[in-house]
Symmetry: C2
Subunit: 488 residues, 2 copies
């Protein structure tokens, strides 16, 4: 009655011919798809990887190439820096980072396997300089390896899990190492014999009696039919570029304006659901405004429009940013003194909203009521000078009084400042990458990983840099292995 | 290969025989199902209504029987009380109450039609005393009709929509008029010739080439097959009683512990999704702790564990309660002075956490840092005594200084206090009750209304009493009419 659709499996009986035949079909060529292909090939399966663009990349290619790794005593880089990261601490942190959306099974297995995954990444040829860069960084400005990339050392996380830096960044000068990471993984997938088909967009899954046995691709404006005897792996990314899906499932993102992704239109989520898959935690998203740049700004204090603080500013910049979005009104203020103020990073599109010789004057310039911001800062400074933050537990060395005038309030406006974001909700999968139906049963022949699933980075308030690429690369591998071995 | 399932349409080819044959099958006998049946019968369709319990009720039967009505100059009750409620003000409020989750089409049509719906309710026999009860009430203690039941008169709503009370409560002594409302609607459905089958649980929809043509019911431990030539209407309620679904789609509800509902296990949502339906805003929930009881407590001030206020306490008790859940930690405090304190409503399970001759003493008893709660209250009282709340815009007469010692802090603990809640997410439907697929197209033969859909009460922070029954009764009617007329 109708053609192939993202929203309805295509019956095998209607397939006119097979244009491609393989064991495993992988859809999407970011880090997830590359890792899935590598493992499926390594397990002996024939693999065709389809990508809608003309080359690899996806959102992974736009990233910093940072992967969240720890546990089992730590990588050699962590150990050299003095961090013997236990599996328990690492796993506990992963679970806390998942918050109310946590997938405990995924945290457990990654907690156990992350160190082995690190070794695997290096074996694929991913280079690491091997040094630790202390301080507060979004990504290293040069080619350093290990950074603090989450809220590990901040409350409440540090009360429950021994902190360690776990963001491992590919050796690459400056930001944007994700492109290099994908290039290396692509080369590895090619070397292992993965067949790669670009400019090929998935438009439907092919079903045979409840089992997914292939896909319909759009290539050169024609439908092409792919037989995948061992299954299909969805690796298509999230839905941040699909406004209609965001409106239905993640409407809070309309408060901000800078989606990051690469054609992340949720097609894989729709394909998975069409086969009976379950899309979960679809309201969750990561966001950040790069407010810790320049680095002295990391010592600033945030207040909302009522002059109230709302979080310990020493936690991860994305956790702070996600909390900003929960505040009343359309903006928050980053407060700095002359000891810490530097002209802000232009890209962040922050503006100076108020200045003053004392905090009272800043308060007046922001047209806040007398005794709001100034009282907040008096309280903060009094305690900070004694090394205390009784409200939120912010800790030294980030905890410092802001008492050297003149003073400045930078405005972070949700409408106009740079708040990048991407979605975290997606298909519910098993820890080995099977797409699960609404009863929790695997859908035969269907696998998924990365941001078309809900994985390690499940909760916007708990995001840490490197969690998404950890999820993409590790669970992409899991899906590749499971598909190659798991024929029914 | 398998039996009937909530998660997979049952093929018509597998139906062994039809045990029931009708035009329209309605599933669920709360207010939604009753109204759908009435309208479908009135339109000349044969109707069988199936209910899993032994009688009508559902969550509607547990409610206060209050319906949110206004617009077109207001009901005669509103007018007699001096409120000429415009359609524009009413519709604007409905849209604001939907927040980021708003369904504008539903707000528009209900804005236009609510007054006619009021007349229809009365024609069904729903009695209203016809008076206005001023003040702050969760439900009338006696049999009064009209109350302020939302945040109409509070910021920010009052800045955009002329306020009016719109909660219209069935004439019934005390709380719990929802039972009477359902009884009346049931009688009307019976009088019109609706066939009613109780102890009948839906286990699958029956599909014929993409069209829903019936349902499989579980009756007396046997599968019974229902042919519904004009379609099936889902009226099964939300998923608050399904912990597995809450964990996947609405995990924040695990902060609180008092679900309200009646077997609301999400079965209708699952059935709708099984047919290709789209479940949206699944993270949204209503919650309230009855903190405005006794009424003088409505004059209290809320602070979080850091001694910060977080909302104008003159808005709807549920909006205030939903904001509590967003605060850090596991509790908030309701601050009262001796002029307003009365022993709290026992059912709320609040406890006295601190008392003092001044706010400084309360602050110490709560083990808050010096200059937190006491400073908040000094600021609040200074401004309240001048009729101002510069932070949140709370207004008189609720805005009153709390300056007559001794003072009291009541603890509302998320774990132990009474926070009732129910889910708001569900199937995406058209304004006339068709279940829509993920592309926005109606699924032939499938209709839904009430809390198995996302409707007027779409956003937890915007909930107002009466919105859910308004949605159930009005859109239940819409679905009934559409199903009766809409055979393809």
């Amino acid at each position: 009655m109708s053609g192939p659709s993202l929203h309805r499996p295509f019956p095998i009986a209607d397939v006119p011919q097979w244009d491609f035949e393989t064991d495993v079909a992988v859809i999407g060529f970011g880090a997830t798809g590359a890792c899935a292909s590598i493992e499926a090939r390594a397990a002996g399966a024939d693999v065709i990887l389809f990508e809608r663009n003309s080359g690899s990349g996806g959102a992974s290619g736009l990233s910093g190439g940072e992967i969240y790794i720890g546990g089992n005593g730590g990588t050699e880089v962590q150990q050299a820096a003095g961090f013997n990261d236990s599996t328990e601490a690492f796993t506990t942190y992963l679970k806390m980072a998942g918050g109310p959306c946590v997938d405990e099974a995924k945290c457990e297995i990654y907690g156990q396997e992350a160190l082995a995954h690190w070794e695997w990444l290096k074996r694929q040829g991913v280079p690491y300089k091997g040094n630790f860069l202390p301080g507060k960084h979004i990504e290293p400005m040069e080619d350093d390896t290990l950074i603090w990339s989450g809220s590990e050392a901040a409350k409440p996380f540090s009360d429950f899990a021994e902190p360690a830096p776990r963001g491992h960044v590919i050796q690459f000068m400056g930001w944007g190492g994700g492109r290099k990471l994908v290039d290396i993984l692509e080369q590895r997938a090619r070397d292992l014999g993965t067949q790669i088909e670009v400019d090929a967009r998935a438009v439907a899954l092919v079903e045979d009696a409840g089992k997914i046995v292939g896909a319909v691709m759009r290539i050169d404006n024609q439908h092409r039919f792919v037989r995948a005897s061992k299954g299909v792996i969805l690796a298509t990314g999230g839905f941040v570029m699909n406004e209609e899906m965001r409106r239905k499932y993640c409407p809070l993102t309309f408060k901000i304006n800078d989606p990051i992704g690469d054609k992340d239109d949720g097609s894989g989520i729709n394909l998975g659901v069409s086969a009976g898959g379950d899309a979960i935690h679809m309201d969750q998203f990561f966001t950040t405004c790069p407010w810790t740049l320049p680095e002295p700004h990391a010592n600033g204090v945030f207040v909302n429009i009522n002059g109230q603080r709302f979080i310990n500013e020493d936690c991860y910049h994305g956790r702070v940013s996600r909390s900003m979005i929960d505040q009343p009104g359309d903006r928050v203020y980053l407060l700095l003194d002359s000891a810490h103020y530097i002209e802000p990073f232009e890209h962040a599109r922050m503006s100076i909203a108020g200045t003053g010789e004392d905090w009272e004057e800043v308060e007046r310039e922001l047209e806040m009521s007398e005794g709001t911001l100034a009282a907040t800062m008096k309280f903060y400074n009094d305690h900070a000078s004694r090394g205390q933050d009784p409200l939120f537990g912010k800790q030294e060395p980030i905890l410092q009084p802001l008492d050297q005038g003149p003073f400045i309030a930078l405005e972070l406006n949700f409408e106009t400042s740079y708040f990048s974001f991407f979605t975290l909700g997606g298909l519910k999968t098993s820890a080995d990458g099977e797409v699960l139906d609404r009863t929790g049963e695997p859908i035969p022949g269907l696998y998924a990983a990365g941001r078309c699933t809900s994985g390690l980075p499940a909760w916007g308030h708990g995001y840490s840099s490197g969690l998404s690429l950890a999820d993409c690369t590790f669970f992409g591998r899991q899906a590749g292995r499971k598909a190659a071995h798991g024929a029914v």
